[in-house]
Symmetry: C2
Subunit: 201 residues, 2 copies
């Protein structure tokens, strides 16, 4: 664990902050089997955002890990994945939302989900809910059947204390959650920890 | 073939048009093995757009076909897929672009690609290039390895004259291309045909 200040995101909530090019963001799963949805935007022009479609295309791979680059919609590198103790994340699904809980799980009075938490977190930067894209869903384990295309959300492979580190490749606004969807975290809502450091440790 | 007026999209180009709720859009591959990238926006508020992440999440499947619904980022149905003579499309990759041709294929003087064509096509509706999302890539065959996550663009399964039909579930601005990426169409740039009809024929 770094000596850098570690922040805690309480269960089913989200935060936002700025990060500078060259800094590192380390996202920790303190209790294991929890997911953190991450989105980011260029500070210079928040219409430039983290793009799953560009990143998957350039990697020619759905699952991204150490040394893979996460690109913006303008094909500019936003993040490089550094040490990755978990190795499996999702980049195909939009953040869980009240509408998702209604449609998929028939909940009558649903939580606002990661979508609501991310939208609330970035509002102070003038970014609206329609600008919340597909997130990089850290630690989320989505099993894919390559023949049928069927996907299934399974418990994350993350064990307590494991982390994934990202180097910022531009100045960014970042939002992170401790996920609100039972399926994503084996039905036990837990916190997420993170810290920002100048070195990749 | 319907008696409705059929339009032709020349190779490596794009068009845009409006469609009303309840109308049908039929997209035809006249020569076979060609791809058409489709994006759409709510006429009422173009910040509402076709969302791969929502659609894949609600279907719990990467590959969508007859009876599947394509959702907006606000979780509202935009399209229902009707008769689908091809059955395999992609919904994970952003449209091909000049940057993509440079990065993946080392082209020095690249074509503007479907991204440039779609951006140009929707500009007249006040929609900017940053609002061009992951497209529904009609007829695009992206092979997925479920174990490694590796993806590979292969020749489309579409044969000459085959089509896929979509019912519009809201009033929309639509843009469609005849794809500009060699990999997508077995290295033979071809046109795409389409027509709009009041009935699903």
């Amino acid at each position: 664990m770094s000596s850098a200040k570690t922040h805690r995101i309480p269960p089913r909530s989200g935060v936002s902050f700025k990060i500078k090019k060259g800094q590192y963001l380390t996202v920790i799963d303190p209790e294991g089997e929890q997911v953190s949805d991450m989105i980011s935007y260029s500070v210079e022009d928040p219409r430039e955002y983290l793009s799953s479609g560009r990143s998957i295309d350039y990697a020619s791979r759905l699952f991204l890990t150490t040394d893979d680059i996460l690109y913006s919609n303008r094909s500019t590198p936003m993040w490089t994945i550094g040490e990755d103790q978990v190795g499996r994340h999702d980049f195909t699904l939009t953040p869980c939302s009240a509408e998702m809980f209604r449609k998929l799980y028939n909940e009558d009075d649903p939580h606002r989900g990661c979508f609501g938490n991310l939208s609330a977190a970035v509002a102070k930067y003038g970014i609206g809910p329609d600008q919340v894209p597909i997130a990089f869903n850290i630690f989320m384990y989505v099993h894919v059947d390559g023949d049928t295309g069927e996907i299934e959300v399974r418990p994350p492979k993350s064990k307590a204390g494991q982390f994934t580190r990202f180097r910022a490749e531009m100045d960014m606004i970042v939002a992170l959650t401790a996920c609100s969807a039972g399926q994503s975290n084996n039905f036990d809502f837990k916190p997420i920890d993170y810290y920002i450091s100048e070195e990749g440790v």
